[in-house]
Symmetry: D3
Subunit: 340 residues, 6 copies
């Protein structure tokens, strides 16, 4: 069984219930989530050995996170504990023309304050087949840029496949800083996850005007972005999830994959949304799973899109679906008939 | 006022709230439901005298069921009590591409363990105008096949109209066993409720290939199925509810009726779904109500489709609507303007 | 900062949760609401000084209302307290083909029992720029017709702009009585809010047959209604919100404005609905805000339509949105992308 | 099986959850309750035939009440429907030194507006063994005084036992009015339920000073009150429930009974309280049950005290216990060991 | 770190919220629990390596149990999956004089249907220091008597300490059958957990009359029971938890321990109860922990009583406390001051 | 009407529901609270003009706090907005022997980061009669020590009465630092609120050994602490609230007051606790209210103890009671009879 290691921050997620606004709510639903943890849980739910690496505070909430992850059989043995708080993110789920809102309160978390030496990558990456991180981790501070670099070098040394989701967050760092850091880090990356916004914001890469239709990229445009990313950094594969926002609770959802020189685009689903946070991470997990299980590129892409389509129907960041359920959707059972 | 008797099992229904999956939930909403009880309640809500016959366990949950039914003014005086458990069914409500899931835990219920002699059909069917059961009841065991036979014979003896919903459940019996048993039972049936899957699975009856469009039956195809059912078993009427699953929470909904030689098809509604379990039963109840109240065939069918359309918007298996509300929808008020 | 005064009744709103029907529910969600209070809160949320005038009972629920309003920074200093109850309205939220239901239980409220002398309009309207009421207030009794008249005369005396929403409620008074009273009151009105039903029911004003398409008014028809209202009563402006009910939870939403001789119609939104009660009031508030802030007529109308579009996504009667959020929607961000 | 008829008002009960105060709550738990309905339900739960007579509004809440009562197998066939609202009572459950608060909003209910002729007592009391009402019913208006008188005369005519709970409510009528009316009505009463406050407030009957200890009546004092009530009005039996309030959630609970010339006092329970509303009614029901089932006076009293002791542990006004559970407590199983 | 293995059934626990009765509730809180799982979780929370052995159904609820256990870091690697259902137990939490009620619905569970050969005790008990089971496991069927015997023999072979909690359940087997089976099994037991009822019911062992005070055993009596158990079966240690039921939500709680020839009794706590189910199991876990960590007998007993005292304040069967929290209570911090 | 100004931090309070532990909960109840805000709300509820001064973040949660305070009619016009987060405190409510737990996550709040110059004390204290702060404010940083000093000097200049609650928090600063800072600040204080722990920890002041009984201070001991505090710092009045923790949900509650040379002690209440957080603040508010309303010392103390006794029965930090309710308790109505 393949072993995947992901590295990043996990936060307390506090979501208002029943479409209440932040200023209205008298309660929050609490789960725990973060981009890289989301990927690890998704993979563990698919049956892989997934190890999530982070630093947690030494208090009840550190324990709460540990418990929360353990139920999914995620390997938590490389998580370290120490000073600092648990980051929090607040979620107000949108509806129709009212967008969802996320307020981050993550500064000074135990993870953000952790130092590179605390992570023993030689031991952590032992027997690993894949290492995954996102642009959020290095955005949290230079200490974490260094930690990423340490991990990436060790991964290369050990011949481990590396993937990265650009995940640009303007609240965490500037485009200039992101470009400088990420350009350095992606040198070690085999599989890149991105969207066209990230590609432009972080690397200034975009499609030609001729490939833009009504303000949106055409499939050709997405292909161009993929190819330019590959050209510039030499990625083996580039995968982009495609969201068409109709209204907050109704979206089109698909994705594209550049595998070597071959470009693939997937079926588009019209998704009625329960909870869309974490959908991108479930797409990444789908691609990783497909590749590690020897699926062909088109199958891998369709698997990732179907998996992340289902994510939109599930409460919380984590994609609580099995491989069988994803495959059932791929085979066309998307009409929601009752399973008895 | 017409008196209808239905015979079957009622279970505890445990549904996850807020679209949570089984593995996520920390609570269940509890109601009580079962195909034949659903029909009885629907009819009682329409103002008929509806009597539900079953066997319940002698414990608090038997009492709970009794209370639950009584609030709808369903006649519970023929319910018997004894050894055995209350069957349970678990419901995970689907959304978008994620289908609803039902897990049955109904073995060894007081009803399943009941013996034919416990039901005094002569007394039960006294003054009754209609007897209704579904394929689930005989699927629970040979004792219940016998109980059904006893009831059917007595019904015929008393000149009571008999209806049956095929309701094939693969988890309860094989197609072979179902065919053998149901072929025997439907001899006594005047009005058959089915869908094209049931007709094929139970009786091997299907439409010609020429009537299948994109994998689905055309109206012509449904008509053919109805006529073949009638030909084979001599039903006076055959009614089929038609569901077009777009996604789990958005369906097309309609129905057809073969009345003697005349075939009718109803308006189709696009329904946004709150809870679709029990919709088929509310369709059956609509047909029974229409026929017992002297509606014409087309009106009966439209009544049944409108009634069951509304069921999709109501929490629980039971169709909590009045005749006035159904008629209001039939007259075209389906746009959901506020009633003040 | 402009000061707006609104005058009317505020009630306890008891809404069933989770789409439960009245007969099913074991709990109610409680907020407080009323047409004119809704307008005041909307304006306060937009940053205006909004004063709500009413009479409340001298008990815990009077205090509860006071608290509820205060959180929005609505000026409650002109609210009076005395004998009588707090009116209640019960709400069963519809879905798909099942309409929402409202049951009013408002008779004998402290407000309905209040006498005209209790309102010191000279003091209340001091420094006010705008006075708003709806047809509900005079419908509650002749004492309140007189109170409205007193307020209107004082408003005219002080050169305050006056607006009125016809808001015809058949349960409160007959069309004849409404016509007699409203004809007298609208003489003082500068800006009229109405819909074509109200215009016909209260004033017998409707569009020519030629402007009716498939039973609905065309834009031309709405223009005609606006112009005829203006001709008859001399309003400076007439604004009508337009709802196209697809199903209870999915509506088209737009509006028109006749400003002097110029007629404007706005963009139409397809809204997925969380809670549509109070949408008309939020439309009125949008028009008032636009006009008081020197927006041009077309901008004012688009602001009002966008503001009230957002209202449909918010729990409760009150429109919990800011000017920035409305403007963001006007600029086209209606696709509901996450705001991080 | 004995048949008991009770006559009075049933209201919607809106209770704040989780010890929230009225001004804090954002939801209410809804049940339906009223003194005489509480007695009827208690008796139906004990297995008697209990008929509740009232008038309900012709709307969804009238139906909701009907359904609510039916689940307990209370006979609702004599309930009439018509104009008027459903009365409401709001409950804020107290704790420790903070008392519970009840706000009544019951004026102009369908019941309060009903006229004496609407009740066909000859038919209603057919085959009845017992008729019960409380002082609340006549307090609602002279029409209901007359209705009570009609019922009482018919009851006497038919040889039916009559009981009355004084239940003085200062918000409904003055002591003078209560004395005048009740003096007239209790002439027909065989069994009186009261407490020493009621006896003093309604009839000016109290114990001698020498029987008051630390501001409270001694047992001797209660006996004196009972005897004086009997002397004045000729009751066959007088029963008084005794509450010793320690704090809002911890009370002593007992009762006394004067049966002919014999005075009995019961064991005292220290009750930790879940919901104490309706405890007095469950005491009355216990006495009625005991007497109708031929229990001896002391057993009847102990049954009533044990039954109403259990009521304190049950959510809602209704006493959801069986005869077996009451007897089990009487036999000493009050320590709350788990029943498996 | 010591490794403890426990063997038994785990069920779905469905508890009514807010002190509602079974017949009232419209929802259940769901957790998963069982005597031996409770002990395993308690020990894992204390930091030991705890392995729980059972058989689960191959469906979503099997997965749900697995997840539920994993969060506590219980070793689930020896759990097997197969045919059968998940047992259910329903809980109605008592209050004051109303006792808690438990309804079991556990027949035909995957565990109850499992055969002895499915458990590979040699592998399961590898490196184990302690094996624990309760009388419930053999009560489920002869197949499980055999499985227990297999485990016990293997444990003895490997020199593993064995403990057993008599846990007599009259609903599962007769006293005769229990005596026959348990007499055979306890031969392998080193540490016995019991209460005086169990000892009498299963083995007919009780204290002399002279040691019974007001129907209860005196400390002398408990000592006698312990000593007689030891004499008869040669246990190394016998521990009994002592509950004094005042009312359902207020109990005295303590325990005694016979260690070799030395008898110890612990401090008694007066506990206000949130949830008492599982308290006995948490007492067993406390004793096991103390003994495995080299605590002295009196300390072990005080640890077990303090741990299980805290259990009463925690929702669910599992004892969610740490060793530090137990020790803090042992040191006297039982007054509940806020920990900031 | 007297005007009181309080100065401090207000946080989001996230409390687990239903006695769940932090590691168990899937939701938090959200309110907003802080020592000085609690005092301001208490006083506003008593009818005084209370102004709360703080700095809030410029985001939805800043608005949420503003709204939350406004409903109580607290003057928020001196609250400033700027960079920084909103502090959070997590609450796990204890029960029986399990203590409540508070986890603070308040570092880097907008308030903690505010600078002294941002507060315009001359304007803020205009027309004020009383200024109140607690030891928490200066503990948050030297910037806030300076802000306190500025406020205190201006208060003295304006002849405003100053009160301070020592409120020592070991997590925020050391005893040495607290002593150094508080010694400086209390020079300006007229009325000191403390408990004997604070007095010892902050100032090293304690009672003689002879006044300690069973590890607790006797009344004589409390008097000694009061007198020594007065002697050292020249306070006009010293008030101490006295809590006797029986278990977490059952406490004794009282207080003492040294007014000039006269020492008073109050009645002790045994309180069953709903929520004890904020009780100390409600005691301070009671003293301030009594003194500002010309109550005599003993009446002031009894008022403060009764008010804060009631606080224990109310959800949230804020004391949601009126002066009438406090006085009613003072007059002896502590037995919790229903108020109808």
């Amino acid at each position: 069984m393949a072993r995947v290691v992901t590295f990043g921050e996990i936060m307390m997620r506090l979501a208002t219930p029943n479409f209440l606004r932040f200023v209205q709510t008298r309660s929050f639903d609490v789960t725990y989530a973060g981009a890289e943890a989301n990927v690890a849980v998704s993979l563990a739910n698919f049956g892989l050995e997934a190890s999530f690496v982070t630093k947690l505070p030494k208090n009840e909430f550190g324990i709460a996170v540990l418990r929360y992850l353990r139920q999914y059989n995620v390997d938590t043995s490389h998580i370290i504990f120490g000073e600092g708080r648990l980051g929090v993110y607040f979620l107000e789920t949108g509806y129709s023309q009212r967008p969802s809102k996320v307020i981050y309160d993550r500064a000074n978390s135990a993870f953000a304050l952790s130092s590179p030496e605390e992570y023993d990558w030689d031991r952590i990456l032992n027997n690993a087949n894949w290492f995954h991180f996102t642009g959020i981790t290095p955005a949290l501070g230079d200490n974490l840029v260094q930690a990423c670099l340490d991990a990436l070098k060790k991964a290369k040394e050990k011949g481990i496949i590396v993937s990265c989701d650009l995940n640009y967050r303007a609240k965490l760092w500037s485009q200039e800083k992101a470009r400088e850091v990420m350009s350095q880090l992606v040198k070690y990356v085999d599989v890149l996850f991105a969207n066209e916004e990230d590609a432009e914001k972080v690397f200034g890469i975009k499609a030609d005007e001729s490939n833009v239709v009504e303000g949106k990229l055409s499939l050709k445009g997405y292909e161009q972005v993929c190819r330019r990313l590959k050209e510039r950094f030499g990625f083996k594969k580039v995968a982009i999830s495609l969201r068409e926002s109709i209204v907050a609770n109704l979206n089109g959802w698909s994705g594209v994959l550049l595998d070597g020189d071959d470009f693939y685009s997937a079926k588009q689903y019209t998704v009625h949304i329960v909870d869309r946070v974490g959908a991108g991470d479930s797409f990444s997990a789908g691609i990783i799973y497909g590749l590690l299980n020897g699926m062909k590129p088109e199958e891998t892409l369709e698997f990732a899109v179907a998996a992340s389509c289902l994510k939109h129907t599930i409460v919380g960041d984590f994609n609580e679906v099995t491989v069988d359920e994803v495959k059932s959707l791929m085979k066309g059972s998307g009409s929601g008939r009752v399973v008895r």
